[in-house]
Symmetry: C2
Subunit: 340 residues, 2 copies
């Protein structure tokens, strides 16, 4: 299933007290456990074995630092994407605020549905309806204004089921994995179907991945001078859809190197994993499998969000690493650590 | 004048013996001169004063490390661009090799002109003619094949006037400037009208700027599976033209932060300099002015390559830094150091 531009999102943020593993320069700090929130499992062993091989100069699988590129999908891989992409939750919240100030928007059935939390009608409106909500809330403003809107939302908006801030719904085991790879001199990139402008205001701090390493879908831009000042305006037109075939293309255009490790959770990540597998260096392909109905969500082949069907077949066939969230992860979210 | 996609290029490379300044972590290594190939001048003082202000935590102009972004144009700013963009020299050389293997190409007047070094006819053919040469030599192959072609060319091709390898025609003073900024914790990006795929095979080594920080124009790509192997094919269609308004847009899309320092040499860089100037932080705008007919080239307002007209007016009006190559630089190319 094609994923709609920008419907994906993500979020997470270290409230004080959340534990991020330390960022020391040592490869495997002696005083701390590797991937502490991961149970001993095939997936944990796959990851550690891979890192040990590619970082050991005495091994034939050694990979020079410059080529240690790891790419991560975001929605469903680094943070939750249910019951719908968090960027869409942002769009709905923004649309509601706009309707309050512009009640004439209620004449449009789609915004009427938004105002009444009528998700059934919204989803029935299909791509055209979703696109209308996205464009109204993501375009027609400057990049600075959009950045401010996202920042305000991400610092206050809470998930309806968990009552956590959306940005607290990142996966603690994946934060540890990012840090583990960084300790081993990997360059980390996020390659997401979500909007890069939506991710950058908060993801740098939450994941420890710098803004220029956060790659996502884009809307077209317009640069113009207004009273001697340059303005960057966001246009209501898709620029680049960073999903499916778009992911290897974005990796080529933005990074210029093929990854040796790629992490995803849906069919939209399959091409990125295939592309990574074609690296002449030893490479690692990992799918996060959503198997935990109690602590997170359980879905794969038949989900409308984050469908994992063709990708699951290929992963099983090729013996890629499949992370079983329920059994492989001790905790899901950072705050779960303090609750234990 | 609009610049034609991909006609620009660049190149340079440290042959052994070329001196690159050391990459020590100290801000101003006590044992070495800052910018040694620069004569004492307003432009040298502008640059050093700027760096001192933004890196001094006690000064009001202090800029946090994450925001110390510097962007450099390539053609005419980091290496020579005369008598025509080096990427176009590559295209002509590639086309000649193709004609040898496919003599039927001679039936096309433009390739006939290429085969006969008839630059007058080529240039008269205008954008359509240039585009044909570019597309034939840059598209219709995989990214791997193109990478190999560029690598082979850059390691052997020589400039007709200087008989230097093209990649030896980078500006020694600019190499020192890049290193000086890196020593002061700037992140360096190249933002060029030239093709990113053309620059990345050699520019990382020559300039010490990693591939993912090299941003350029792109052709469209196609990702497809062939016998179970993913291939990335370059299509004969412009994807993104990283020139003029395209530069601030690329900066936004790729970097996600506004630079505090920008370096260019032509009207195609004006928007990048304007965008940088709109940074709330103290910022630096620098134009390299080609004033040295003896050691390099002398041109500005009326040049067909690297025209600097509107930009020169704005630089003079706003008191931007204008580097006078003839008077401000002790040497032009790295090899000139040993010749002294």
């Amino acid at each position: 299933m094609k994923r709609l531009y920008l419907v994906p999102i993500f979020l997470a943020f270290f409230t004080s007290g959340c534990t991020n593993t330390t960022k020391e320069e040592v490869k495997h700090p002696a005083h701390k456990e590797i991937l502490p929130s991961w149970n001993d499992s095939k997936s944990k062993a796959d990851i550690i074995n891979f890192v040990e091989k590619v970082t050991d100069p005495k091994k034939s699988e050694f990979v020079p630092v410059a080529d240690r590129i790891a790419t991560f999908d975001n929605d469903g891989t680094l943070w939750t994407e249910q019951p719908f992409y968090f960027q869409f939750a942002f769009a709905v919240d923004e649309a509601k605020a706009m309707i309050t100030e512009n009640p004439e928007m209620l004449e449009d059935p789609i915004f009427n549905a938004v105002a009444n939390d009528d998700m059934t009608t919204i989803l029935k409106a299909g791509k055209a309806g979703l696109s209308k909500i996205i464009m109204v809330t993501h375009a027609g403003m400057t990049t600075d204004q959009y950045n401010e809107n996202v920042t305000n939302w991400i610092n206050t908006a809470k998930h309806p089921k968990t009552d956590k801030l959306y940005k607290e719904m990142v996966y603690q085991p994946m934060l540890e994995l990012i840090d583990f790879l960084k300790e081993n001199d990997f360059s980390i990139f996020i390659v997401s179907g979500g909007g890069s402008d939506f991710m950058r205001p908060w993801a740098e701090e939450v994941y420890g991945v710098s803004k220029d390493n956060i790659i996502g879908s884009t809307l077209k831009l317009e640069y113009k001078m207004e009273e001697g000042q340059p303005k960057m305006q966001i246009l209501p037109e898709l620029g680049f859809n960073d999903d499916e075939e778009g992911k290897p293309m974005a990796i080529h255009q933005y990074i210029g190197r093929k990854p040796i490790a790629a992490f995803g959770n849906s069919d939209g990540d399959l091409q990125m994993l295939q592309w990574t597998e074609s690296n002449p260096y030893l490479s690692l392909q990992v799918y996060i499998h959503h198997t935990d109905a109690d602590r997170e969500w359980q879905y794969d082949r038949h989900s409308k969000i984050g469908q994992l069907d063709e990708g699951l077949d290929e992963a099983l066939l090729k013996n890629w690493t499949i992370v079983d969230m329920k059994n492989d992860w001790k905790v899901i979210y950072p705050n779960d650590l303090t609750a234990e």
